[in-house]
């Protein structure tokens, strides 16, 4: 066999085994763990899942990350973005790991812990300037609708006196945000399904 061919077979076996290690085996491992988890059943879970879809549809990922860096590497934890770094098993119960690659806005991995106010999130989504002047986050007024009477529980008043309330999509999105508690407590044990 030509010497170059032997050398090349060597290169490619290394390549193939590295790819197997980097992509294939982790995928198999996490799939096996995920398969052990109980399926989501409650209405809350359905609302949170809908909220995740709203998050994806509107591209929140392009400004917000959802991962806490190691303490020695970045200062995320000192900013209050998490108690510890996030690890893979934190995302095991998610349908998609929306890790993100930009911090035009703050990281959201534990936003459900550090800011658990549904009404704050509603107002902030409607118009970020109302809660965070100077923010460059776009307003999501199209996720809200005007209300005439006071019958809607989570309606709020704008500075000019008009009242708006979240649509179902906005409520779902807020529920999703409040569910983000990725770096709380001990990391979930990847070899045991987390207690429900």
């Amino acid at each position: 066999m030509h010497k170059a061919t032997i050398l090349f077979i060597g290169f490619l076996i290394t390549f193939a085994t590295a790819w197997t290690g980097l992509v294939l085996l982790p995928a198999r491992h996490y799939n096996a763990q995920a398969a052990q988890l109980p399926a989501a059943s409650s209405a809350d879970e359905a609302l949170i899942d809908r909220g995740r879809q709203v998050y994806q549809a509107n591209g929140c990922l392009y400004c917000h990350s959802q991962q806490v860096s190691p303490r020695h590497f970045r200062r995320d934890q000192e900013r209050g973005w998490g108690e510890r770094r996030t690890v893979s098993s934190d995302y095991l119960r998610d349908k998609i790991a929306l890790l993100g690659t930009m911090r035009t806005g703050p990281d959201l991995a534990n936003i459900g812990i550090r800011n658990p106010s549904a009404s704050w999130h509603s107002i902030h989504l409607y118009d970020p300037q109302l809660t965070s002047p100077g923010s460059t986050m776009p307003p999501f007024r199209f996720l809200f609708e005007p209300v005439k009477d006071g019958a809607v529980a989570d309606a709020f008043a704008l500075p000019d006196g008009t009242r708006v309330a979240p649509t179902a999509d906005a409520r779902a999105l807020v529920a999703y945000l409040l569910s983000l508690k990725h770096s709380q407590g001990e990391p979930p044990d990847a070899f045991e399904p987390p207690a429900k």
Binding site: Q33, G59, Y62, E78, I96, S135
Partner: protein, 487 residues
């Protein structure tokens, strides 16, 4: 293989080779103009989306009251129309033309490429519409909703088949490095795309495993699709324009195989500091630094070929774009290798610096290279001169200055942003406020680049619809009408 030194005095060989070249260019005309015109359309749409996205980042109220125009939809719509609609379509056209030239094989069954162009355009239209109407997958570089992939893959299958068909008809002897790059990329891209579609969208794997696959895909699209097309173009056009062969050609062979080997490991450098085992990240960082090997061999190759010939940039529009692009390739690749180092990455990750880096690659390298190729191809496909040297100059300078200004200002702003993120006592909104001047400068850079694109589109349309003056001075583009010649 004909020895060009001898045949330069053999009129029969010259005539035969001229006729062959005319046949090749004529067979390519219809189908590849269809692909190029489509690409230019998506370039213009992508540019509009780019401007909107850029303004929204410093003026969030801009066009903010419509769901389909929210930043989180406009931004991925921009990326996907540019990657698939503009750059990939132009790459197919340029790639197939260079293949045809080097294989000395006219494209056959041109109707299949017309059909493929229609499929490609439908796919991109469906995909862009899908993103803007709330169907984005939120997977970076893969945001087109799931129904889009079959259209794009079917269209690309035709391009692959055409590539194989031409390679099979090539003359015996040496296969030029551009043919290696192009032939390989025609297989690599659909494999990457199909794999990503299956594992992330059609039958998604568990959530923690998705980001590595996502970034394995996105990074390999750069390295195993766009980089090969870009380098193949440079390796073909630099010697063609200069009339001089590539210096140290053997280096290009080393460059090809080392690219093929090292590049695919790079993807995890998008996840440094993320929730992954250190060994996974370290392998990627090492591979990213090893990329310096193929990158520097390419740089040496191009540089030594151009040395002594830089005055050619004065009279060749193609060479201006191609050399600018080739230098940008070296710059962005070296920057990439440095950015993968953890000490750098801890500051630059999550900032606008990354966006600047991405545009140095996809624009200053890939897009400018494709512009250069189109400037070379079109006169040969259409047997006409470009209508206006002024428009070409406006295009080049607007885009060259525009992208460098884009990159410089946004990189600086991003590094500042990253350093500020490492100050836990600095309020987040202060960090945001300090990025605003750089984001505004990026919009101005974008306006300049848009001017260039408009100049280009104008030239392109004038060429397409025959408004260019036929030249009376002798040119190298043989006009079949000037000789009785069955083209």
């Amino acid at each position: 293989m004909t020895d060009s030194a001898h045949s330069s005095i053999d009129p029969v060989a010259i005539e035969r080779s001229r006729e062959e070249r005319i046949r090749i260019d004529a067979a390519a005309r219809g189908p590849l103009l269809h692909w190029l015109a489509s690409a230019v359309f998506w370039l213009l749409l992508g540019t509009t989306l780019a401007l909107a996205a850029s303004v929204k980042l410093h003026d969030p109220e801009y066009l903010a009251n419509h769901a389909w125009l929210t930043f989180g939809r406009v931004r991925p719509a921009h990326l996907n129309t540019m990657v698939y609609g503009w750059a990939s379509a132009a790459s197919v056209a340029v790639g197939l033309w260079i293949m045809a030239r080097l294989c000395r094989a006219p494209l056959r069954h041109g109707w299949s490429l017309h059909f493929a162009a229609v499929l490609w355009n439908i796919g991109n239209a469906v995909g862009t519409w899908g993103i803007l109407t709330g169907g984005s997958t939120s997977l970076e570089w893969l945001e087109y909703p799931s129904g889009t992939a079959p259209w794009l893959l079917a269209a690309f299958a035709v391009a692959m088949w055409q590539g194989v068909d031409m390679m099979r008809r090539r003359p015996p002897g040496h296969i030029y490095v551009s043919q290696w790059y192009l032939f390989a990329s025609l297989f690599w891209f659909p494999l990457l795309y199909a794999t990503a579609q299956v594992l992330l969208i059609w039958k998604p794997v568990a959530a923690p495993a998705q980001p590595p696959i996502n970034w394995w895909f996105a990074h390999n699209v750069l390295g195993l699709w766009f980089t090969p097309v870009g380098l193949a173009t440079a390796y073909y056009l630099i010697p063609k324009v200069l009339g001089k062969p590539i210096h140290s050609y053997y280096l290009s062979i080393i460059g090809f195989w080392s690219l093929a080997f090292f590049y695919a490991w790079n993807g995890m450098h998008h996840l440094i500091g993320g929730p992954y085992p250190a060994w996974l990240i370290s392998v990627s960082v090492a591979a990213s630094v090893m990329m310096l090997v193929p990158v520097l061999t390419v740089a040496v190759n191009h540089h030594f070929t151009m040395i002594g010939n830089f005055r050619a940039l004065r009279w060749s529009p193609t060479l201006r774009f191609v050399v600018f692009a080739a230098m940008s390739y070296t710059l962005v690749s070296v920057q990439g290798s440095l950015t993968a180092i953890r000490a750098v990455n801890r500051v630059t990750h999550f900032t606008h610096y990354t966006v600047a880096h991405a545009h140095l690659g996809m624009y200053a390298f890939v897009t400018m290279m494709l512009f250069g190729a189109i400037y070379y191809m079109m006169p040969r496909l259409l047997n006409r001169e470009w209508p206006s040297a002024a428009l070409i100059r406006v295009h080049f300078w607007s885009c060259a200055i525009g992208v460098l200004f884009y990159w410089g200002t946004l990189s600086y702003g991003g590094i500042e942003q990253g350093l500020n993120l490492q100050k836990p006592d600095m309020p987040f909104l202060d960090i945001v406020a300090r990025t605003l001047p750089y984001l505004r400068m990026r919009t101005w850079a974008g306006v300049l680049m848009t001017v260039g694109h408009l100049a280009f589109a104008t030239s392109f349309l004038l060429m397409l619809f025959g408004k260019a003056r036929a030249t009376s001075t002798p040119t190298l583009f043989a006009n079949p009408a000037a000789k009785p010649n069955p083209a």
